[in-house]
Subunit: 185 residues, 2 copies
C-alpha cells in the first residue's frame, strides 16, 4: 500500500490537482508506480480527511477550476515514517514469463510475433527514458551541479534505463530461443 506515499512524494516535488497527478502517473512517477484517476481521486479524499494533505481551490481562466493539493505536516510525518520502514521485497507479476512457459503446451513459434511487438514497446520506452535523461540530467540544458532531489531522480531513471536495456537483451534471447524451437520441429 504505497500509492499514498507515491502521491506524497509527487506532491512534495510539485503541488497539483488530482487530474495533474493522474497525468504524472502516466509518465514520470508512473514509470515505477501506476494508478488511474479514479483511484487517485479516492485516495486523495482519504488523505485529505486524514489531514495528510490540504486542498486549495484554484480558479483558472479558459479551463475548469481545480483543487490544488499540497502536503501537510501529518503527511510529511507519514512519509518519513514510511521511509524508515524496512524495504519489502516486491511481489512479482510477470505475465510474459508465464506465457513463455505455457507455450511449451501450445505453439512456441506463435509467440514470436507478440514478443517482437512487446520488444518494440520496450525499445520505445528506453528511447523515451534516454531523451528524458539528456533533457533533465546530462544534456547542455540540464542544471549543473544537480541538487539532492535531481540526483535521486536521476539514479531512479538510471534504474529504469538499466531495466529496459536488460529487458531488450533478454527479449532477443527469448526470440532466438523461440525461433530455434520452431526450426527443429
Amino acid at each position: 500500500m504505497a500509492l499514498e506515499h507515491a502521491i506524497l512524494v509527487s506532491l512534495l516535488e510539485q503541488p497539483g490537482s488530482g487530474y495533474e497527478l493522474a497525468r504524472r502517473f502516466d509518465r514520470s512517477i508512473g514509470y515505477f508506480w501506476t494508478a488511474t484517476h479514479q483511484q487517485i481521486y479516492r485516495v486523495l479524499k482519504r488523505m485529505e480527511s486524514d489531514a495528510w494533505i490540504e486542498a486549495r481551490e484554484v480558479a483558472q481562466q479558459d479551463r475548469p477550476d481545480k483543487k490544488e493539493y499540497s502536503v501537510a505536516a501529518l503527511g510529511r510525518a507519514a512519509l518519513s515514517g514510511w521511509l524508515h520502514e524496512p524495504i519489502e521485497p516486491e511481489s512479482v507479476r510477470h505475465e510474459l514469463a508465464v506465457k513463455i512457459r505455457g507455450a511449451a503446451f501450445d505453439d512456441p513459434a506463435a509467440l514470436i510475433r507478440e514478443v517482437r511487438r512487446y520488444r518494440q514497446a520496450h525499445a520505445e520506452r528506453l528511447a523515451h527514458y534516454l531523451a528524458g535523461e539528456r533533457r533533465d540530467f546530462t544534456g547542455p540544458e540540464a542544471p549543473a551541479p544537480l541538487d539532492d532531489r535531481q540526483e535521486l531522480q536521476h539514479v531512479v531513471l538510471r534504474g529504469g534505463i538499466a531495466y529496459e536495456q536488460m529487458t531488450l537483451a533478454w527479449l532477443d534471447d527469448v526470440i532466438d530461443t523461440l525461433e530455434r524451437l520452431g526450426a527443429r520441429r
Copy 2:
C-alpha cells in the same frame, strides 16, 4: 488476471494439490508470479466449477489425503486462447524507487542501511537462480539435449538471472549516490 493461467501452466508441468501449488508459488513459478494458499484454493474452486481442471482424491499414508488437480480439455483451450492474446505491458510497482525519490524530503543517508539489506536479498536470490540453472540446465547432471519445455523454462530463468544481475549493479549505483549525497552535507 493471470493467476488462473499460471496455475494451468503449473498443473500442466505437473499435476498437484492446492498445497503443492502454494509451495510452487514460493519458488519455481513463484519467481515471476506470486500467490498465497488462500487465493490459490479460491481460484482452484472456480476453475473446477468451470471445468478447467479436474480433481482426484488421493489417499496418502503418513500424511493427510489430498485433492490432486489436473488440467481438463476446457482448461487447455482457455490457456491456448490466452496465449494468443496480445501481451499487455506490465503495470509497474517499484516501492524502492518511490522511497528513493521520497528520500530527497527526508534523510537520503538513512536509506543506505535498508538498501544494503535489500541488495543482500537480491544477491541471495541470484545465487539461488544460478544454482538452479546448473542443477537443471547447464550442469553435468542436466539432461542434454533439452526438450522444448526445458528450453523455455531455461530462457525464463535466464531472464530472472539477468534481472538480478542488473538489479545488483543498479543498487550499487544507488548506494554510491546516497553516500555521495550524505558526504556533501
